[in-house]
């Protein structure tokens, strides 16, 4: 009896399993993300086409594209876009550039390498809230050690300090952000560096290639895809970064550090215009989407070339 039925049973059970099993495993998490991210996101999309205030959030008036027209005709929103662009480009260039340098520096053999590789990640491990607090203290107008350092090299941030100085605040916020991002980039690139074929490096050196040529022709070629991915990640993270900027400057002085996310938060909680805030948020999401889709195209084109 068992001889005739048993060969068929596992097969049938496997087909039953293969159709529904994956969904049983993923359903809890998928539903969770749908409820806590999908639903609120849809609500934001809808809000962006309404006039809704924080004081009476359940009463929304459909206004079509009015919020979008408003923000795009508002010169201060144009400043927000420019600030966002400067902030994101500087974050990506600074963190990827310095991260690459740090990765190359830590890649060789030297005494204490393990300790160095661990300690260099401290900025990334430190909680962002604490980083905002210590940065604010270091930039304190009277007692901040960085204020004193700036004064020592002849830069006077003025009586109210660096974070209140329209020409220095963004630089200070950028320096703090990049300080925090560099270790992440360095550590990711350091692990990618392990796959650089040493035979190729040595062969190039035997052929008389200088350090720079070896880096450009061998090392950089191996790192290129990882650098691209990290750059995309840094872009997305920088577009959504909130706490650090908000706690250091609240978007000021004179809106010089007001990125899209700061703008949308201030619009929702200071101006109490939830519809306008949602529209600003959508602009940020569209920009992120363009970056992700665009980077995939670039990556594919690069793959086809090589």
């Amino acid at each position: 009896m068992s001889a005739t039925t048993s060969p068929a049973r596992p097969g049938r059970r496997r087909t039953l399993e293969s159709r529904w099993t994956p969904y049983l495993f993923l359903a809890p998490a998928a539903l969770y993300i749908l409820v806590f991210q999908g639903l609120p996101l849809l609500q934001e999309v809808w809000l962006s086409f309404t006039r809704t205030t924080l004081l009476n959030p359940t009463r929304s008036v459909w206004v079509g594209a009015e919020n979008y027209l408003d923000i795009f005709t508002d010169p201060s929103f144009r400043q927000t876009l420019v600030t966002t662009l400067v902030y994101v480009v500087a974050c990506v260039a600074g963190s990827v550039g310095l991260g690459l340098l740090v990765a190359l520096l830590l890649n060789g053999r030297f005494p204490g390498r393990g300790v160095a590789r661990a300690l260099v990640t401290v900025p990334w491990a430190a909680p962002g809230i604490a980083v905002a607090l210590i940065a604010t203290w270091m930039f304190n107008a009277q007692y901040g050690i960085l204020t004193k350092a700036l004064q020592a090299v002849g830069i006077d941030p003025g009586a109210s300090g660096v974070l209140d100085n329209p020409s220095l605040a963004l630089i200070a916020v950028l320096a703090t952000t990049i300080w925090q991002l560099v270790p992440f980039v360095a550590v990711v690139l350091l692990s990618a560096l392990q796959s650089v074929p040493q035979e190729l490096v040595e062969a190039a050196q035997v052929d008389g290639a200088g350090r720079w040529t070896v880096f450009r022709e061998v090392t950089f070629q191996v790192l290129k895809p990882t650098i691209g991915l990290v750059a995309v990640l840094m872009t997305i993270w920088s577009l959504r970064r909130f706490e650090l900027i908000w706690l250091m400057t609240r978007g000021g002085p004179l809106g010089t550090t007001r990125t899209l996310v700061i703008d949308l938060y201030a619009e929702a909680f200071d101006a109490k215009q939830l519809g306008v805030a949602a529209a600003i948020g959508m602009v940020g999401i569209v920009i992120s989407l363009i970056v992700i889709v665009g980077s995939r195209f670039v990556a594919r084109a690069a793959e086809r070339q090589s």
Binding site: F25, I33, Q37, L247, I285
Partner: protein
């Protein structure tokens, strides 16, 4: 040759020391500020070394009922977020790693897409939803909100880890009659312990550091987590800077310690999960 080589090594060591100094200095400065007297701080001079006779500030901070409550609230929120996001993330990662199914590509894209949603954007609709289901002003409400944001990262890290477990091991258990849950619990889970630890560290400190939801959803001071407490010190004039920095050190130390401890696995997980998407 050896002379230039030795020079190169020296130059590299100097560069490494400069980089490490820059990396560690702000956190060190937090510690030094906590351990410096008013006279030394505000006297105009510059004190670069901590005054170890003042270590009592940490004791004072831990005697402060409010500070202890902040840290406890953070501990509860972060632990809850860790447990929930691992519990939801493991099966999701298993499905993504081991099965082919309709909608898989879309699900992967959705996970990537969530990485670009700012908390500051979703805080308004989540506030409205939480008010309706009575989740405002509660620690478990924050656990639910934080889990939503860290779950995709956790799932991607764990998927990378499960991808690294040879399928032959699954097959062997399947041939012996083991069903998928058995495979996951008996074969895969024991092999991806380090990645689970890494995902747990990331989930825990994501929640530990979370600010926007905490500051918006919590009204009672007794339910505030440390992130809100520490952020509240910024621009505050009434608390001494030494007390402020001693609390900041207590808030920072666990994060730095855990990341350094689990660094190898966190890095592997982050590169596999976050970067490969």
């Amino acid at each position: 040759m050896t002379r230039t080589h030795r020079l190169g090594v020296t130059a590299r060591m100097i560069a490494v020391l400069v980089v490490l100094g820059l990396a560690v200095f702000p956190v060190y400065w937090m510690l030094v500020t906590a351990l410096t007297s008013d006279e030394a701080l505000f006297g105009g001079g510059l004190t670069l070394l901590p005054d170890l006779s003042r270590l009592g500030v940490f004791g004072d901070a831990l005697q402060d009922g409010e500070v202890v409550r902040w840290l406890l609230n953070s501990l509860i929120i972060a632990s809850g977020t860790t447990v929930l996001s691992i519990a939801l993330g493991v099966p999701l990662a298993y499905a993504l790693s081991r099965f082919r199914f309709a909608g898989k590509a879309a699900l992967g894209l959705a996970l990537l897409f969530t990485q670009m949603l700012p908390e500051a954007l979703l805080v308004v609709p989540l506030f409205a939803i939480f008010r309706r289901v009575d989740l405002l002003n509660s620690l478990h409400g924050l656990v639910l909100a934080n889990t939503a944001f860290v779950l995709p990262v956790v799932a991607l890290i764990l998927k990378g880890a499960i991808d690294g477990v040879p399928r032959e091991l699954d097959e062997a258990t399947r041939v012996d009659g083991g069903r998928p849950p058995t495979v996951l619990l008996r074969v895969i889970l024991p092999l991806i312990g380090p990645s689970i630890a890494a995902a747990a560290v990331i989930a825990f400190f994501h929640a530990w550091n979370e600010y926007v939801f905490a500051v918006t959803f919590i009204f009672d001071k007794s339910l505030q987590p440390a992130s809100v407490g520490v952020a509240g010190f910024i621009g505050e004039q009434d608390t001494s800077i030494q007390s402020i920095m001693s609390v900041a050190v207590l808030f920072t130390l666990p994060a730095v310690a855990f990341y350094l401890f689990a660094q190898k696995y966190v890095v592997g997980g982050m590169t596999a999960g976050a970067v490969k998407g």
